[in-house]
């Protein structure tokens, strides 16, 4: 396929995804764009928002658009790891022999919605670690490789913290982005109400498929990026570490611990996709800076100084972006 043709298809695909998502989701443009970027980049996304802002609907709609096998796991405190991954069971065959066979869990899908992921116990949450990073599952000594593309879209509720288990840092690091779904405005609520009067179901149609997504990912990976931009991304990540010798003043003052190198990887990978999504064929400083907040906000922990100064994690990251020179 001609390169320009692939790029054209990429742009058209993005445009189609956005159009279809707008049929089910009102507003949340930034969240929508960043989810598309994460999916094409092959990363997982943690969606945070109060109940009713459309987290689950967004993921369900996305599964329809992408035309991929979709499964939803409602995380509860009594959810066991085998409930997620699947387990070996004893089954009698036609000849009456007893065989141990592996019954696949809901994780065996291309698009997995981990709803209210913080309600499951750490034991169950950790069952997601390997699958999110390696796209593989090991059960009973046997490793199963998941079909590509594979995404985990997890949601969590910032309120109602009783009976929840905050995700461990290691698992947080597996998410490319943490996206905040803000509460809609009054006019948006009106649109939401009108949209759901006919049916509560999703209306989006499938516009692309798994191979197309993989092709788009492959195309995005070839987007050129200069060393200065990579260095900028690295400096942003390193700038979150207060323990480093040349740590940024923001980190020294407001950050308890910083992001892992995975953050820099995520920044550059997603920046490449963002450049293409925005009609550019190279990564710019602006691409990296624009993605710094969703990439870093769940990977760093602010200290008491930030709390005392009424600064959120996003505020601290914004200060960091201002401090780090391009």
């Amino acid at each position: 396929m001609e390169n320009t043709e692939r790029i054209t298809q990429f742009s058209e695909a993005i445009k189609s995804i956005k159009e279809q998502l707008r049929r089910d989701i009102v507003g949340q443009d930034e969240v929508v764009e960043n989810i598309i970027i994460a999916i094409i980049a092959g990363g997982n996304v943690l969606l945070e928002g109060v109940p009713g802002v459309g987290k689950t609907r967004l993921v369900r709609s996305l599964s329809r658009i992408l035309n991929l096998p979709f499964s939803r796991i409602q995380f509860t405190p009594d959810l066991m790891p085998s409930d997620v991954t699947g387990s070996n069971i004893i089954e009698k065959d036609a000849e009456g022999r007893m065989n141990s066979i592996f019954r696949r869990g809901p994780i065996f899908a291309n698009l997995v919605l981990a709803d209210e992921i913080n309600r499951a116990t750490p034991k169950t949450q950790s069952a997601m670690l390997e699958v999110m990073q390696e796209h593989k599952i090991t059960v009973g000594g046997t490793t199963y490789t998941l079909d590509e593309p594979f995404f985990v879209l997890a949601t969590e509720n910032p309120i109602e913290q009783d009976g929840t288990y905050p995700l461990p840092e290691a698992q947080m690091d597996r998410f490319f982005f943490k996206l905040i779904m803000t509460f809609p405005t009054a006019s948006e609520i009106v649109d939401i109400v009108n949209m759901t009067q006919v049916t509560m179901g999703e209306n989006a149609d499938a516009v692309i498929d798994g191979p197309t997504i993989l092709d788009m990912r492959d195309l995005a990976s070839t987007v050129p990026v200069i060393d200065e931009v990579v260095l900028y991304a690295a400096n942003l990540v390193a700038g979150t570490h207060p323990e480093l010798e040349n740590a940024s003043s923001v980190a020294r003052k407001y950050i308890k611990y910083g992001a892992s190198p995975r953050a820099a990887q995520a920044l550059i990978t997603c920046a490449k996709v963002r450049a293409l999504v925005r009609g550019s064929y190279n990564v710019s400083f602006d691409d990296v800076a624009a993605l710094a907040v969703p990439v870093l906000r769940h990977r760093i922990k602010v200290n008491f100084n930030a709390v005392n100064d009424h600064l959120s994690t996003d505020d601290v990251i914004a200060m960091l972006i201002k401090e780090i020179k391009r």
Binding site: V223, I226, S280, Y281, N282
Partner: protein, 475 residues
């Protein structure tokens, strides 16, 4: 290679050359001007050519170094394009991937080229043009300063200017002095006329200028002329100089008396002369010696007895001694008395001459505030001072005084000097004193000695005092 980058590169290179030239030239010109100014002010010693060469060197150095610093490399050009025109690192990415193949790289290159091609040449601005202008203006300012700042050697001294008020005051004072000199009844008329002429010449001279140095020079010249005139009219100085060079103590004492125009000193000298003759074992030899030395000293003075009374009286002494040696009727005592009487009148005349000359000279010195140093510099010995109450500066102009009038209270036309507070040179005391005191002293001497002097001399003296004293004072 990219056409867009080349296009930008050429333009930025042109700007860099221009900028380097401007800053280099500005620095060079500034350094040259600075060195020039310092040389002119003699802070350093450098010829203009050397300063220009140093300036040229600085210009080349600064321009060259600056060009090396700001010359647009391809990376710098790409960065400039991205930053200046918001190309989102397109140009830098294109440059970084030069030589690499790949579909996306090719698309990116085309995209970057297209974006750069959309930027017109006119959009490529000469950055910070104001800084270049400031550098040029500073350099030009330095040059202007270099032109304006005068060299130390060329610096003209500030000429003190006398304002019209003070000038008029000086003229008024000089006119008053003319009146005072011309109305003097004792100094010789020729001398007085000469002094008046010189003062009038001085008035003419200061009327033609406002510059203090010129006025002072004219005034000092006038003082010099008056001094020369006094020497012309008064033989005392030439005679005394001749006597002082005789090598004899008695004759030198006579010379001192002549110089001072002092009767008493002369009397003392004659007493010494008589004592020397009387105490000698052979008086004729001593007399002969004195006659010889006196004659020799007088012969060195180019005067004649017809013209000068003092010279005549001194010649009378020398001839009288010769007469005594030849057996004449007079003895030495009588001779000395006669000579004293004759000398006294000459002394009186020359004292008056000296007095009026000194008054004129001191007045001119006062009016023009001439210091002794200024006189000495011009080879003029300061005249003996005369007491005066006249101001050394013009009076206040608050009441618009008529400066041409007589407003000093000094001696003027029609004034009677007797009893006044005016000053006069007293040859006996060798100092300036009140005229009243001098005239009274001489009158007392005259009155007391009337029986001892010849009737002829007494008559002359009487007439003299009659001239001075008012009828009331006569009584």
């Amino acid at each position: 290679m990219s056409d867009g980058l080349n296009r930008f590169g050429r333009r930025l290179m042109f700007f860099a050359i221009i900028k380097s030239c401007i800053y280099g030239a500005s620095c060079g010109v500034s350094i040259f001007a600075l060195l020039w100014i310092l040389s002119k002010r003699e802070i350093i010693v450098l010829s203009p050519l050397v300063s220009a060469l140093i300036g040229l060197g600085v210009a080349l150095l600064v321009g060259g170094v600056l060009f090396l610093i700001i010359r647009p490399s391809r990376r710098r050009v790409a960065r400039y394009i991205d930053d200046e025109f918001g190309l989102g690192e397109r140009a830098q990415t294109m440059l970084a991937y030069v030589g690499e193949s790949g579909a996306m790289v090719e698309v990116q290159r085309q995209d970057a080229e297209r974006r750069m091609a959309e930027i017109p040449d006119s959009a490529i601005k000469f950055k910070r043009i104001w800084a270049s202008c400031v550098a040029l203006v500073l350099a030009l300012s330095f040059i202007v300063c270099g032109i304006v700042v005068p060299a130390v050697a060329e610096e003209l001294p500030e000429i003190p200017i006398i304002d019209g008020y003070e000038k008029n005051w000086r003229i008024a004072e000089l006119k008053q002095l003319i009146t005072r000199v011309s109305s003097d009844r004792f100094a010789e008329e020729g001398l007085r006329d000469g002094i008046v002429d010189n003062i009038e010449d001085l008035i003419d001279a200061i009327e033609s200028t406002e510059e203090e140095p010129k006025m002072k020079a004219s005034a000092i010249d006038t003082v010099k002329k008056i001094k020369a005139m006094l020497l012309e009219y008064n033989s005392s100085e030439s005679i005394s100089r001749a006597f002082l060079g005789s090598g004899d103590a008695v004759i030198e004492t006579i010379g001192n008396a002549v110089a001072k125009l002092s009767d008493s000193t002369l009397t003392d000298a004659f007493v010494d002369l008589i004592d020397a003759v009387d105490s000698a074992s052979d008086s004729s030899i001593v007399l002969s010696l004195y006659a010889s030395k006196l004659s020799s000293a007088l012969s060195s003075v180019s005067l004649s007895s017809d013209e000068d009374a003092l010279y005549a009286s001194m010649l009378m002494l020398a001839n009288g001694i010769n007469n005594i040696l030849d057996g004449g009727s007079l003895d030495l005592d009588d001779l000395c008395e006669e000579v004293s009487a004759a000398t006294s009148l000459a002394f009186l005349q020359q004292s008056d001459n000296q007095r009026i000359s000194n008054i004129a000279m001191n007045e001119i010195i006062r009016i023009f505030s001439i210091t002794d140093d200024e006189l000495t510099e011009q080879g003029v010995e300061p005249p003996p001072s005369t007491d005066t109450d006249a101001p050394v500066t013009p009076p206040d102009d608050d009441n618009n005084d008529d400066l041409t009038g007589d407003n000093t209270g000094g001696y003027g036309s029609g004034d009677n000097m007797v009893g006044s507070d005016d000053s006069v040179y007293d040859p006996d005391l060798d100092m300036i004193t009140k005229y009243k005191e001098v005239i009274n002293k001489y009158y007392t001497i005259f009155d007391n000695q009337s029986g001892e002097i010849s009737e002829e001399i007494a008559e002359i003296a009487r007439k003299y005092f009659d001239l001075l004293l008012t009828p009331e004072e006569m009584k």
